[in-house]
């Protein structure tokens, strides 16, 4: 090649650093996945291949309950946060520039900036007062809390999609006799679809994975899968935890792959 460019790959030690980074990132996960198939009850000593920890987890009523609870909360949180985020994204991109725009962005993305533990304590105190006042003890608190911190995750891909959309498409629809509602229904929404789906999936994964806020907000017997696993640490750890983690990992990888496929630019 005639042109000599600066290439990071040619620097001494590049390969070493790259390999070390990948090992640090993926070796723990590989170990976790490997020991989920351990025949013995140790999470550190290999005693042969078996699927029985998956079967154990599957038949464990506490795991089943926590899984269902996690999924219910994640589905609700994804739906609520995506709806709110879609409205917020429309509100911040489909209007003329206004004073305080930056403030609105900061407000919407607040959960990304405030330390999660602070939000967790604040919600515990507030919901505690509501619980006393109303007597309601259900999953609503967790759903509400999850919905709130999922909003920025849903908001970002939706807003990115809206900003990439040609405004003249909506003008064209209005010009062709579409009412504002029809314009939204037949032009904006279909074009926004992939962004909304991507936002919903991201929100779902974020909700599924949450420990800190859930731990503080949940009432007795409201363990989600992550808080159930945290609880297991107080007892003897068995590869059952590995099996649950591996299943969770598989689900997340599938969803994030779908998210990537939906948000990448069409080539």
């Amino acid at each position: 090649m005639a042109e000599r460019r600066f290439e990071v790959a040619r620097l001494p030690g590049f390969a070493t650093v790259a390999v070390a980074t990948f090992v640090m990132l993926y070796l723990p996960i590989a170990t976790l996945v490997t020991f989920s198939f351990n025949a013995g009850s140790s999470i550190a000593v290999w005693e042969g291949f078996s699927l029985h920890w998956y079967a154990d987890a599957w038949n464990n009523q506490a795991v089943k309950d926590a899984t269902v609870r996690s999924l219910v909360i994640a589905v609700w949180a994804a739906m609520i946060s995506t709806t709110v985020a879609t409205l917020a994204a429309l509100g911040t991109t489909r209007r003329a520039a206004f004073k305080g725009e930056t403030f609105i962005y900061v407000a919407i993305n607040q959960p990304l900036m405030v330390p999660e533990i602070v939000t967790a304590v604040a919600l515990m105190i507030l919901f505690g007062m509501v619980k006393v006042a109303t007597g309601y003890q259900g999953l609503g608190y967790l759903i509400l809390a999850h919905s709130a911190f999922c909003i920025p995750f849903a908001y970002l891909p939706i807003r990115a999609r809206l900003e990439g959309m040609d405004l003249s498409l909506e003008s064209a629809a209005a010009d062709l006799y579409a009412s504002p509602w029809q314009t939204f229904r037949f032009v904006t929404l279909p074009l926004l679809g992939p962004g909304i789906l991507a936002g919903a999936m991201l929100a779902f994964v974020i909700s599924l994975d949450d420990v800190i806020i859930t731990e503080f907000v949940k009432s007795g017997g409201q363990d989600t899968l992550p808080t159930y696993m945290l609880g297991q640490m107080r007892r003897t750890m068995t590869p059952e935890v590995n099996a649950i983690s591996t299943a969770l990992l598989a689900l997340t990888v599938v969803l994030l792959t779908a998210f990537f496929l939906l948000t990448r630019k069409k080539g």
Binding site: S171, A172, A174, L176, S179, T183
Partner: protein, 354 residues
């Protein structure tokens, strides 16, 4: 063509910005566009032509003034309530719909029966010669084909007025020439009033029934292409459309006296100091000293193939350009540095109104 007025703007003003930064994109424009005509709004970018188009479409509200359609005030109607359709500069085709769905969009939104929509879509696709493309996505079409889809989509609901916002600017020269012919054909076949926005004076001259020349938010002149070209009212119109010569002059009985002292016969109602304009192709080169001819010296010649531009100096240094047919150059004895006489073709010289 009837004289009935389709679109009328009365004292339309559109101001952007606030306080000291107010820009009048449209400054008190009044215009009447007749039913069934091909009307072109011509002007440089930023002259307000697109703003006027957006007021007619309903995308913008005038700061003051009214827009009328067939005599009825439509100033406050939103775009979806106006029987006016637009061909956008960027085409703005819906990427998630097929060609046929794009063309049928307006009719569907109007709630027309499905059978009528599909019949009309087929007609429109035939009109723009795109029947085989009906089921394609718009991203699978070439620029010229997308342009045709945009036209078919805007024409399908049979609007009273079709607005075209520089629709040919994204096409290459050859395609642009084809589309000019195509647009003129569509306008004749459908009989719909076309309001066409462009900054290309040649496009305006070849396609329009009438042209409105705009500059700095104001309408400078409205007239047929021939009117605009041969009788420009001011310096802006004269220089924006084609090339021209400007000669300072003073009004005298029966004509004007040039700064060289020569008198040119021309009708004018204005007194005092004026500007005389004459197109280069209307300047005749004659033998030096011929009676009534203005003395000039040939500064240099520029060869253009079919014709040659002769840059001449009058006795007081005023520059005049004459365009002569190329074969004549040698025969007429036009050589750089020689002294000749010039005459203006009868009726060709005009006194500008301001």
């Amino acid at each position: 063509m009837t004289e009935a007025v389709t679109i009328e703007a009365r004292n339309a003003v559109k101001a952007f910005g606030q306080g000291e930064h107010v820009v009048r994109a449209l400054d008190d424009v009044s215009i009447q566009i007749r039913k069934g005509e091909f009307f072109t709004l011509l002007g440089p970018s930023g002259c307000g032509k697109t703003t006027l188009l957006r007021l007619i479409a309903g995308f913008e509200m005038p700061t003051s003034g009214t827009i009328l359609l067939d005599g009825a005030d439509i100033t406050d109607l939103p775009p979806n309530k106006r029987p006016v359709n637009t061909v956008f500069q960027s085409y703005a085709l819906f990427p998630h719909l097929t060609v046929a769905e794009n063309v049928g969009f307006g009719l569907t939104m109007q709630g027309r029966p499905k059978a009528e929509v599909s019949k009309r879509v087929a007609e429109m696709l035939a009109l723009v010669k795109l029947e085989p493309m009906a089921g394609r996505k718009v991203s699978q079409l070439s620029g010229g084909q997308q342009q045709r889809v945009a036209l078919a989509r805007a024409l399908a609901p049979q609007p009273k007025v079709l607005l075209l916002d520089e629709p040919l600017s994204a096409l290459d020269l050859k395609l642009r020439k084809e589309m000019q012919v195509e647009l003129k054909r569509l306008q004749t076949e459908t009989g719909i009033t076309f309001i066409f926005v462009t900054h290309d004076q040649e496009e305006a001259l070849t396609m329009s029934d009438r042209i409105g020349v705009m500059s700095a938010g104001k309408l400078q002149q409205v007239g047929s292409p021939r009117d605009i070209y041969t009788r420009p009212v001011n310096r802006f119109v004269a220089s924006f459309i084609g090339e021209t010569n400007f000669l300072p002059a003073t009004v005298v009985p029966g004509g004007v006296r040039l700064s060289t002292g020569d008198v040119v016969e021309v009708a004018t109602t204005r007194p005092g100091a004026v500007t005389l304009t004459v197109r280069p192709e209307q300047v005749r080169i004659v033998a030096a000293g011929e009676a009534g001819a203005i003395a000039a010296r040939v500064k240099f010649l520029v060869y253009f193939g079919t014709d040659t531009h002769c840059h001449l100096d009058l006795s007081d240094g005023t520059e005049v350009v004459a365009r002569v047919q190329s074969p004549a150059s040698g025969e007429a004895g036009i050589v750089e540095g020689s002294t000749v006489g010039i005459r203006f073709a009868p009726g060709a010289a005009q006194v500008l109104e301001d």
